[in-house]
């Protein structure tokens, strides 16, 4: 983890007594769990149980009704703002790429926005076999190709905490194996993964049930 690009070392994520509601409806309450470096956790629960909202609350994009999200760095507790702006990257249903621009421009922007170096971006693109697609507009890419682009951005930026919302959904079997490899490598390097899933993650992961069991 080179600090030079502003990335922030995160050793642990603590969620304590979290409760989130959408409008008047309470999604879940009193949820607590922790994820340590090298660990993965997967959120299971029915559709609309609040898995995505939980990810967004951890990312600081959504304000919970009650409860707390805390991050620990190597040397003890971290300020949530710095931890998030330096150490968290999210992969949501929409990958955040502008359809009208080329894959190269959007991948480069997004990865470097999260602290990747130019070399890391080209290496990640090569690894995900994206080079032939780079000069195409994002609009013409398939959902699977766009998801690989987002995975390349994750690999290039290499931020410690990955928040993944059904990461493997649009990928075919071959690409899922590659994603598993990437996730395992991330965990061995001391990274953390918190993912909302319907089918289990391809790496060892603890189950966290959100809301009513599926």
């Amino acid at each position: 983890m080179d600090i030079e690009n502003g990335s922030q070392m995160i050793a642990a994520l603590h969620v304590s007594d979290l409760s989130i509601s959408r409008g008047e409806r309470r999604l879940f309450a009193g949820l607590s769990f922790a994820v340590k470096a090298g660990e993965a956790a997967q959120l299971t629960g029915a559709n609309g149980a609040g898995k995505t909202s939980l990810l967004r609350a951890v990312a600081g994009l959504l304000r919970p009704d009650a409860g707390e999200v805390r991050f620990d760095g190597a040397g003890g507790p971290l300020d949530a703002g710095t931890a998030r702006s330096g150490g968290v990257q999210m992969l949501a249903h929409q990958e955040g790429f502008r359809p009208g621009r080329t894959a190269r421009a959007e991948l480069t922007f997004q990865a470097r926005w999260f602290g990747a170096s130019a070399e890391a971006v080209t290496a990640a693109a090569k690894r995900l076999d994206l080079v032939p697609l780079l000069d195409l507009e994002v609009r013409v890419l398939s959902a699977g190709q766009r998801r690989r682009l987002a995975l390349a951005s994750l690999v290039a930026a290499n931020r410690p905490l990955w928040l993944l919302d059904e990461p493997l959904a649009p990928l075919d079997a071959r690409r899922r194996a590659q994603a598993a490899e990437i996730m395992a490598e991330h965990l061995n390097g001391g990274g953390l993964i918190l993912a909302a899933v319907h089918d289990p993650l391809p790496v060892a992961a603890r189950d966290i049930v959100v809301g009513a069991a599926a």
Binding site: Q89, R98, W113
Partner: protein, 221 residues
């Protein structure tokens, strides 16, 4: 290269290339200017007194053009969430977007402004002053307009809502901007008006990022 510079280059290339690029803004400005003589007649005695005023109305309306998409597209693509998670704060992201809006729409319009004013009979010697005042006013329009765009995130009638929110707040820059040129036309010094215009533009640039950041967080969470 710092993250903000990366974002600035992306935003400018987005605004400059497709959609509401400078060509569209200047085209709109000149089209509306051309409508005036068609509406009220070609005699200079009618046009010259309103040349400065019309130019500022045209500047204000033209600067509204690409505002609606300034945040809406990123919001729809899911990019706004990622921008919030990056190293810079949302306030900084907002300021960069305002700067991009000024660069891609405000500055080109400040070149179109003297052309529009001259076509309506403004004294050519006032062209540089008009361009300068238009650039300053453009900065105010960009900052307030960007805030209006951020506030109307999540509403269905985005474009119209941006105008209804922004235009009352455009009153001071329109008054001071047009006032600068009118003062010069009447031979008095444009200094005070220009100073007030600059003050409002800087005030808007200082205030709107905080309001804009809050508006974006509100639309996200």
């Amino acid at each position: 290269m710092s993250a903000l510079l990366l974002l600035y280059r992306r935003e400018v290339s987005l605004l400059w290339a497709g959609g509401g690029g400078p060509l569209l803004a200047c085209g709109f400005a000149l089209a509306v200017t051309a409508a005036l003589p068609l509406a009220i007649g070609s005699e200079p005695v009618r046009l010259v007194p309103v040349a400065a005023g019309t130019t500022w109305i045209v500047l204000a309306l033209a600067s509204l053009l690409s505002l609606e998409r300034l945040f809406e597209r990123d919001h729809e693509d899911g990019a706004l969430d990622l921008l919030a998670l990056g190293p810079p704060t949302l306030e900084a992201v907002f300021a960069v977007k305002t700067a991009a809006q000024w660069t891609a729409v405000g500055l080109p319009l400040s070149l179109a402004a003297p052309v529009a004013a001259l076509s309506l009979g403004l004294d050519p010697a006032l062209a540089p002053l008009t361009a300068g005042a238009a650039a300053l006013a453009g900065l105010a329009f960009a900052a307030v307009g960007a805030l209006a765009a951020a506030l109307s995130l999540g509403s269905k009638r985005g474009g119209l809502l941006v105008a209804v929110i922004a235009l009352p707040l455009y009153a001071p820059p329109v008054i001071f901007g047009a006032g600068t040129v009118t003062a010069a036309q009447e031979g008095t010094s444009p200094g005070p008006a220009l100073a007030l215009l600059a003050a409002y533009a800087l005030f808007a640039c200082a205030l709107t990022p905080f309001a804009g950041g809050a508006a974006i967080r509100n639309a996200q969470g």
